[in-house]
C-alpha cells in the first residue's frame, strides 16, 4: 500500500494497515511528515477518543512514532507526479523519478488555501494563514508587527490567536459573511484581547509600493456588493488570508475516479463510500482531499481507509474489520453533529449514495 501524503489521514491509514500486516510506504512532498499537524499548537476539541485537550503537534508526534514502530516507510521530499492505469505512480524522490506500483493507494493529499484577489494582493506581506503558522509555529519567526486577518472561520480565528501568541498586534478580523464562521470560543479568545471583528467587510486593496504598508477594507451589502463610502484603512504590514480551503484533488482525478461538486465539503470531491473507497478499484481517499473537515475527522477517515485496505487484501477477516471499522464510525459520529457538523455528515451520506448509484 502507498499513502500519498503523510499528514493526519495518511499516517492514520498507514498505521491501521501496517498494524494488520500490510507493507506500507508513505510518500510526502515535504521535508517533514505530519502535514499541518505540527503547526497546530492549540489544544484539540472532541472527546478522549479524539485526544481532546492534547495539542495538535503532540497528536502528530504520536502518530509518527506509532507509524515508525509499525515499520511504515515514510519517504520525504517525494512528489507523486501522477497516478496511471493499474495503480502505477511516478514518484520524484529528491532528484530522481521512480515508477512505483501499489496494490492499494490511499490518496491523502489534503487541501490548499483559497485566495482572494484584490489590488495589491501580490505585494510581499500578503500571506496565507498556513504560511503565518509555518513561520510562527514551526520556525519561531513573527510574520509581521501588525496584521489584518481576512476570514473568521476556524482557521482565521485560531491563527489570529496564534499570531497574538507570537507577539503580533492584530488590527482586526474581517469577513465578508455577516456572521463569524468559526467556533464562538475561538473567536472569544481573540475578542478578549480587544481585537475587533468586522463582519460584512471585504478587502478593497493592499496599500504600499514595495511591500504591504496598509490595508483598506470595505463593507458589503447582503448581495456581497461593496458599499461605496464605507472604506476603512488599517496601518498594517501583513495581511493574512484565511478564506477557506479546497481539496487537493488533481492527483486523484488523474486516476479517472468519479467526482462530485459538493459546496459543503469545499469543492470538487472524489466520490467515496463509507469505507473511503473511490470509484477506481484499489484507490481510497481520506482527509481533506475527500472533503474539507478538520484533523480529528481526517485521522478517523484515515483509520477507516487503512482497515478497509487491510481487509480487502485479506489481512483482516470480515468480522474483525466490521467491528474495528464500526468503532471508528462511532468515534466519527460526535464530530459530525451539531450546527457545525451536520451539513458535513449529510454531504458524506450524499457521496456514499452517489457511489451506490
Amino acid at each position: 500500500m502507498v499513502t500519498i501524503g503523510a499528514g493526519p489521514a495518511g499516517l492514520a491509514g498507514a498505521i491501521e494497515a501496517a498494524r494488520n500486516g500490510v507493507e506500507v510506504v508513505a510518500f510526502d512532498e515535504n521535508e517533514r511528515p505530519g502535514g499541518q499537524l505540527f503547526k497546530q499548537i492549540h489544544k484539540f476539541f472532541g472527546s478522549s477518543v479524539h485526544q481532546a485537550g492534547v495539542r495538535g503537534f503532540n497528536i502528530g508526534s504520536g502518530l509518527l512514532d506509532e507509524a515508525q514502530k509499525l515499520g511504515v516507510e515514510v519517504s520525504l521530499s517525494s512528489v507523486v507526479l501522477g497516478i496511471y492505469e493499474n495503480n502505477v505512480m511516478n514518484v520524484m524522490i529528491r532528484d530522481h523519478i521512480e515508477q512505483v506500483k501499489a496494490e492499494r493507494i490511499l490518496v491523502a493529499t489534503g487541501a490548499s488555501e483559497n485566495m482572494i484577489p484584490f489590488p495589491g494582493w501580490t505585494l510581499p506581506g500578503v500571506i496565507g494563514a498556513g504560511a503565518a503558522q509555518t513561520m510562527a509555529n514551526l520556525h519561531g519567526i513573527r510574520p509581521g508587527k501588525r496584521l489584518l486577518m481576512v476570514g473568521s472561520g476556524n482557521v482565521g480565528v485560531v491563527v489570529a490567536y496564534q499570531m497574538l501568541q507570537a507577539g503580533c498586534e492584530i488590527a482586526a478580523v474581517i469577513d465578508a459573511a455577516p456572521k463569524i464562521g468559526g467556533y464562538g470560543v475561538h473567536a472569544a479568545k481573540v475578542a478578549r484581547y480587544g481585537i475587533p471583528f468586522l463582519m460584512s467587510h471585504t478587502m478593497k486593496e493592499a496599500n504600499g509600493k514595495e511591500k504591504v504598508e496598509g490595508a483598506t477594507v470595505i463593507q458589503v451589502d447582503e448581495k456581497w456588493q461593496p458599499i461605496p463610502g464605507t472604506e476603512k484603512s488599517f496601518d498594517v504590514d501583513t495581511i493574512c488570508i484565511a478564506v477557506g480551503l479546497n481539496p487537493m484533488n488533481k492527483l486523484v482525478r488523474m486516476s479517472g475516479c468519479k467526482t462530485v461538486y459538493v459546496p459543503a465539503l469545499g469543492g470538487l470531491i472524489p466520490a467515496h463510500d463509507l469505507n473511503q473507497r473511490t470509484s477506481i478499484p484499489g484507490i481510497y481517499v481520506a482527509g481533506d482531499v475527500s472533503g474539507i473537515e478538520e484533523a480529528s475527522t481526517a485521522i478517523i477517515e484515515g483509520r477507516i481507509a487503512g482497515l478497509a485496505i487491510a481487509s480487502s487484501l485479506d489481512y483482516l477477516d470480515e468480522a474483525a474489520f466490521v467491528e474495528q471499522r464500526d468503532r471508528q464510525f462511532q468515534n466519527m459520529k460526535g464530530l459530525r453533529t451539531g450546527s457545525h457538523g451536520e451539513a458535513r455528515r449529510k454531504a458524506k451520506d450524499y457521496l456514499n449514495a452517489v457511489m451506490k448509484g
Binding site: H42, K43, F44, F45, G46, S47, S48, A52, G53, V54, R55, S152, V157, L164, Q165, G167, V173, P178, K179, I180, Y183, G184, V185, H186, A187, A188, K189, V190, A191, R192, Y193, G194, I195, F197, M199, G334, L335, T337, G338, S339, H340, G341
Partner: protein, 167 residues
C-alpha cells in the same frame, strides 16, 4: 450561535444568563466555583472527564452544552486549563472586603508575577481598570496553559475575563 457572539466574537452577560454552565448567584456567593462560558453545540467534552467530583455533565452526545452542578463544584480549577476553548473561568466572590478573584486560563509567553498590577479586560477586551495578580499556577499536566488569578472589585467578577500588562 447567539447574536453578539456571532458578530462581535464575544458573549454579552445577557447571553450568558440561563446558560447551563453558569452557576447561580446564590452559589457564586458561597465560594469559588467554575463558570463555563460555552454556549455553542460544538463537539467537545474534556471538561466532563476532568471533573473529579462529577459536577460537569456533557453526556453521550458530545455536542451537548456542558451543564454545571454548582452544588457539587468545589472550585478546584482542574477544568480551567483543560478546556480547549479557554471558556472556563473560576470566580470567587466570597473573599473578604469588596474584592472578588477571577482565575483565567493564560497561554502567552510572558507570565505575570504574584502581586503585579495589571489591567483587567472584559470579554470585548475593553479595559476595566487595575487588578492585582493574586497567584499564578503552571504544572506539567496543564501542558503550557497557566492559571492566572486576578483580584478585582466585586462588581467585575462576571466581567473580567482577561488582562494585559500595564504599559
Amino acid at each position: 450561535m447567539t447574536q453578539e457572539l456571532s458578530t462581535c466574537g464575544y458573549l454579552s452577560e445577557e447571553e450568558l444568563k440561563g446558560s447551563p454552565g453558569i452557576p447561580s448567584e446564590a452559589r457564586r456567593k458561597k465560594g469559588p466555583v467554575a463558570v463555563i462560558e460555552c454556549t455553542q453545540d460544538i463537539p467537545c467534552n474534556p471538561c466532563e472527564g476532568s471533573c473529579k467530583v462529577g459536577a460537569i455533565t456533557v453526556g453521550e452526545d458530545i455536542t451537548n452544552l456542558p451543564h454545571l452542578d454548582g452544588e457539587k463544584c468545589v472550585g478546584c480549577t482542574t477544568c480551567v486549563p483543560v478546556c480547549p476553548g479557554q471558556a472556563i473561568f473560576m470566580v470567587d466572590e466570597s473573599i473578604e472586603g469588596d474584592k472578588a478573584a477571577v482565575t483565567i486560563p493564560y497561554e502567552f509567553r510572558s507570565v505575570p508575577e504574584k502581586g503585579q498590577v495589571v489591567t483587567a479586560l472584559d470579554r470585548s477586551g475593553t479595559e476595566l481598570g487595575d487588578a492585582v495578580v493574586a497567584g499564578v499556577r503552571k504544572t506539567e499536566k496543564m501542558d503550557q496553559t497557566s492559571l492566572v488569578t486576578i483580584e478585582v472589585p466585586k462588581e467585575w467578577f462576571m466581567k473580567a475575563r482577561g488582562f494585559r500588562f500595564k504599559k
